[in-house]
Each structure stands twice: as C-alpha cells, then as structure tokens.
C-alpha cells in the first residue's frame, strides 16, 4: 500500500516486493483485472467420452447452489484412486463448498443443492434414488476443527460410526477395530493406556487424529479433509501430513487447504479454484500434477495465485 521505502525490497514471497511507483501500482491493478477477466472467460473443459470410471471419482458438470445463488460453476474433474488431491484457491472461491458436495453434506444446509454428476466407481452419487446417508458411509470427512464427541470416551469415539451400521460388535472385534484404526492414524501409542478417557481431553493434534481414526474406522473408500490442519500447531500439522502419506495407500484423499506449501508437500494432483469477483460463482481454473501446477502452470490466474501476487 504505502510506497516510498527508498529501495527496500519488502517481504517477497506471499505479498510480493513492495511497490515503488504509482505506475507500478496501476500496472498491478490492471493485472488483477486481467486475471479476473481471464477467470471470467474460462469455459469448463468437458471430460472425454471414454473415461474409465472404475475406482475413480469422476465429476461432470457439477453446479452448486445456495438457494438461487450459483456458488460454484460447472466443475469437471477426475480424481484417481489411492491418491491425494489438493484443492487450493483464494477465500470464497468455493473449495469447501465443492468438497462438501462429494459426500452430500452440502445439502444439509437448508436450501443448498447441487446439479450434475459425481461418479464414485461408476455409481452416480446424485442419482435421485441414492440415499445420502449411504453416500456418507463410503465417503468420510474430517473437519477443520477437531470434533470428537465430548460425552464419549476415546474408545467409543472411534467406534461411533461403526456402531451406527453394524449389529452388536463382539468385544474382541471392537477392540481389534479400535486398535487398527488408532494405529492407522498414528495415535495408538499415545492413547492405548487411556482408551476410556474422554475424547475431549486430548491436545488439538491428537483430537484431529482421533477424528481421522473415527472416519477411517468405517472403512470408507474416500476421505475428504476440509482444512484439517488450520486449527493446529506446526508440529501437529506435520504429524498429520505424514499420516496422509500413509493413508494414501488405502484411501482416496481429497484435501482442501489454503496453505499452498502444504498442498505442494502432500498431494499428487492439485486443483486450483478461483473466483472472478464478489457475487460471482467460483470455478475450477486448472487441475494438473502438483509439480506442474506449482512450477509450470498454464493459466495466468494460476501463476498469479501460486506466486502470491493475487489472492
């Protein structure tokens, strides 16, 4: 904002070099307008007709609404099985909204709906005959703020989802499940001696891993993670990122993050969403291998975002 720093370079990185002259500021504003115009002009690229849908998530012509307001427009993408896909973009571009359509949590909000197709291993999640409750057992979710059930013990928390579906679990079965889920979330060693303690008595990072354990205990195919580390300290964040690399062997993971470095660290593919301006719908701007997105993106908007000039 205020210039006149006599030559100093400002704080590169996120905010770019400090601007010096009025001309540069004008140029910047024009670039922003250009980027916005570019986003506005993007037409969604339809998927090829012969996509092999086995095991994959295929999203076609997905439009997401809040009431009459179109929040996200015409998303087309393919998500490979047993991979980590990161969804990045500036605030308000619809990344979380998009994520929540993958397990039909979006429609929990009154008046919200989605039009289009989301194929999970060939089955359309949005087929009118499909039961949203069943969808959520196949597509699990971990939230931004850890939310273990406060009135349940750690043990009961892990089993919470499982108990909804199954008939009575034998104690030995249940014990085995709890241990496996907690091991798979790298939490077992830390809590194995206090499984009866309250879920809310753990640290933030531990609580989040408990929520992950709870989510994977029902053996979903897909795990959605909505900014899972944004409420955690850096050490816990690192622990969860390490965990994701292991989880990838068994689950397809889609993670929304506003932290580009995190996206670069953990994901195989990255989808960049953006928004032209307030009140306009968000769009999928570009999706590619993570390396490509961060080193050699195609769109100007993507370049601007990943270099920190815009958003």
């Amino acid at each position: 904002m205020s210039s006149n720093d006599g030559g100093s370079d400002g704080d590169g990185g996120r905010h770019g070099p400090t601007l010096r002259t009025l001309d540069e500021r004008v140029e910047m504003t024009e670039e922003v307008h250009d980027t916005a115009a570019e986003i506005a002009s993007i037409e969604a690229v339809p998927l090829p007709d012969d996509v092999d849908v086995t095991n994959r998530i295929v999203v076609e012509h997905l439009h997401i609404y809040y009431g009459d307001f179109l929040a996200v427009e015409d998303v087309n993408m393919i998500i490979e099985p047993k991979s980590v896909t990161a969804v990045i973009g500036p605030s308000g571009c619809g990344k979380s909204t998009f994520l929540r359509t993958l397990n039909r949590m979006h429609e929990v909000i009154v008046g919200a709906r989605a039009d289009g197709t989301v194929l999970l291993d060939g089955e359309n999640l949005y087929d009118p005959r499909v039961d949203p409750v069943a969808v959520r057992r196949k597509v699990g979710m971990v939230f931004q703020r850890p939310n273990p059930f406060p009135t349940m013990s750690i043990y009961d928390n892990v089993l919470a989802g499982k108990r909804l579906n199954s008939k009575r679990l034998k104690k030995s079965e249940a014990d085995g499940l709890v241990e496996q889920a907690l091991r798979d979330s790298n939490l077992w060693e830390e809590v194995k001696d206090r499984l009866g303690g309250p879920g809310s008595g753990l640290s933030g990072g531990q609580q989040q891993r408990l929520c992950i354990a709870r989510a994977i205990a029902v053996e979903p195919e897909v795990l959605l993670m909505d900014e899972p580390c944004s409420a955690l300290d850096p050490i816990s964040t690192l622990a969860i990122e390490e965990l994701m690399k292991e989880l990838r062997e068994n689950f397809t993971i889609v993670i929304v993050t506003h932290n580009m470095q995190q996206a670069a660290r953990v994901s195989d593919r990255t989808a960049f969403f953006s928004i032209e301006g307030a009140g306009k719908p968000g769009k999928l701007v570009e999706m590619d291998d993570t390396e490509t997105i961060f080193s050699n993106p195609q769109r100007q908007a993507t370049i601007d975002y990943v270099t920190g000039r815009f958003g």
Partner: protein, 315 residues
C-alpha cells in the same frame, strides 16, 4: 435510544464535582444495596413468620397428631407431582426436539411461542377445564377401559370414578401445566448443540434420529434433567387445579382412578383455610411449612444438577 450525558466538566472544578457525584453514587449505591439486603430480610421474615404461626400446632390440642394429619397429604403431594413428571418429561423432550430439529426453520419461533402460551394460562382456568371438560371425557372413555383391561395393576384397580375427579386426571392436568417449562429449557439446550458435533455425526453416515441420539441428546441431558426438576417443583406447589379437580379423602393409596384420592398439601390448605379458625389455621400453616421445605430441596437439587451439568458438557 441515545444516552444523555453531562457536558464535560470545567477544569478546576474537579474537586467540587467529584463531591456531588460521590454523594449521588453513595445514595444510589446505597439504595441498590438496601434493596438487595431487603431480599434477605424478606426471606428470613417468611421463614420466621411461618414458623411462628406454625408452632402453636404442636403446643395446642388438635384432633389428631400432626404426622397423622400431614402424612397422607405429603404422600398425595409427592405422588401427584411424580406422576405428572413421568407423563410430562418424555412428551416435553419430544416437543422440544420437534421444535429444534424437526419442524421447518421458519416455524420454530412461532411454535415455541405457542407452547409458551400454555404456561401463561392461569391455574384456575386449568382447574375449571380439568373438572368441567377433561374429567368427564376421561371418566367416559378412558377409566372404564383401564379398569377392565389393566385392572390387575394396582394403579388402575378402580372402581373407575364416574365423575373423573381422580388422581390420574390431576396428574394429567399437572403434566400439561409443567410441560412448557421442561420444553422451554430442553429446547434451549437442544438448539445449543454445537453444529460441529451434529455434522460429525452426519458425516459418519447417521440418519437424523441417529444424529440426535449421538450428538444432541447426550449434550442436552443435564439441561433436560434440570428442567424436569424445576417442573417437579412447580407441580409440588400447584394448588388450584388440584383443589378444583380432585375429590379428596383422607387416605393413602396408589389407586389413581377411583373416587378416593389423597389430597395435596396445597389443595388442602386452599379448601380448608377460608373456613378455619384457631388452631386449625395454625395446623394448615404448619403443613405449608412442610411444603416449603419440600420444594426448597427439590429446587436445590435442580440447581446443583444444572451447575454440574453445564460445566461438564464443556470441553
């Protein structure tokens, strides 16, 4: 509404103005404090006067010993309130759930207001309605059926009253009267369930009912209990509905549909006081004291549960 304030003080007048404001503060603060202390005085006075008027009962001559007199009344008071609580609480929880989680959003506020209207109906009106409309309906349709089909249960031994002026009728009317309190408190607690926990349940693939069982009810349990205890306190002290509806007798029985029913302390006072004199008045006041102690303990328990519960739910 704009607040009016004094014009800023002139420099140099700090001393004098502070004197005036100190006086104002002293007077105002003193009056407020006095009002607070008056509360303590009033309560002490209530206890003192009641005890003073009750004591002659024990020093004087009455037709029967006090415990024998008040025993059936205590039984009737607790029994009627207990029945009312058992009937009202599940209904209240269901109605609260309906308002918080089932009804369309827009209807939630008017519905709540509608139920609160039940609380505003004066108890004498409930008495008139209970005696004039409800009791006959029950006597005609419900009590004979209960006696015929469930008569083996001591509660329904009968013979079924033809007027309907029974303990069961009273319990049902009391249930209607205390339901709004329990509903209001339960509704508040259910609405406060953190959205995060509700979404956690849904994301695990829970149906609405499963989400309620998993997230809403455990969270709201202490609130519901506290509301139920408050309702119980109200039922114990209810006078007019019981006085008008019940056909009383000096008896202890679990039979709820016959013509012989134990009376409650409050209704007994209401019925006998206007025409009583001398030591009988003292005796009635003594029973009132017993009632006061009873409701005091019930309310104290409610407060303890509310305090413990809410701090436990956090975290």
């Amino acid at each position: 509404m704009t607040a009016t304030l004094d014009a800023p003080q002139q420099p140099g007048s700090l001393k004098s103005s502070s004197g005036v404001s100190k006086l104002g503060d002293k007077i105002f603060g003193g009056v407020s404090k006095g009002a607070g202390i008056l509360i303590l005085v009033v309560l002490a006075a209530v206890a003192a006067f009641l005890i003073a008027q009750a004591i002659p009962t024990f020093t004087g001559e009455t037709d029967k010993p006090f415990p024998q007199y008040v025993g059936p009344l205590i039984f009737g008071t607790i029994w009627s309130a207990f029945l009312a609580l058992v009937i009202a609480t599940p209904l209240a929880v269901a109605v609260a759930l309906f308002t918080s989680h089932y009804a369309p959003r827009r209807l939630a506020a008017p519905l709540g207001w509608f139920i609160d209207l039940l609380a505003a109906v004066p108890s004498v009106v409930y008495g008139l309605w209970g005696s004039g409309v409800f009791a006959p309906v029950l006597a005609r349709s419900v009590y004979p059926w209960l006696e015929d089909n469930l008569g083996f249960i001591p509660l329904f031994k009968g013979p079924a009253s033809t007027s309907g002026r029974t303990m069961m009728t009273v319990a049902l009317v009391l249930a209607v009267m205390i339901l709004p309190i329990i509903t209001a408190i339960s509704r508040e607690v259910f609405l406060q369930t953190p959205r995060l926990h509700e979404e956690a349940s849904l994301a695990l693939g829970a149906t609405r009912w499963e989400m309620i069982r998993q997230s809403v009810l455990p969270y709201g349990r202490s609130g519901v209990i506290s509301g139920a205890m408050l309702g119980l306190g109200r039922a114990l002290g209810e006078t007019m509905a019981v006085a008008i509806i019940l056909s009383p007798a000096n008896i202890i029985t679990f039979n709820t549909i016959s013509n012989q029913n134990p009376n409650t302390i409050a209704a007994n006072i209401a019925l006998k006081f206007p025409e009583s004199a001398g030591i009988n008045v003292n005796r009635l006041i003594a029973t009132g004291l017993v009632l006061f102690v009873l409701t005091f303990f019930v309310n104290a328990i409610a407060r303890r549960i509310a305090r413990a519960g809410f701090s436990g739910a956090e975290g």
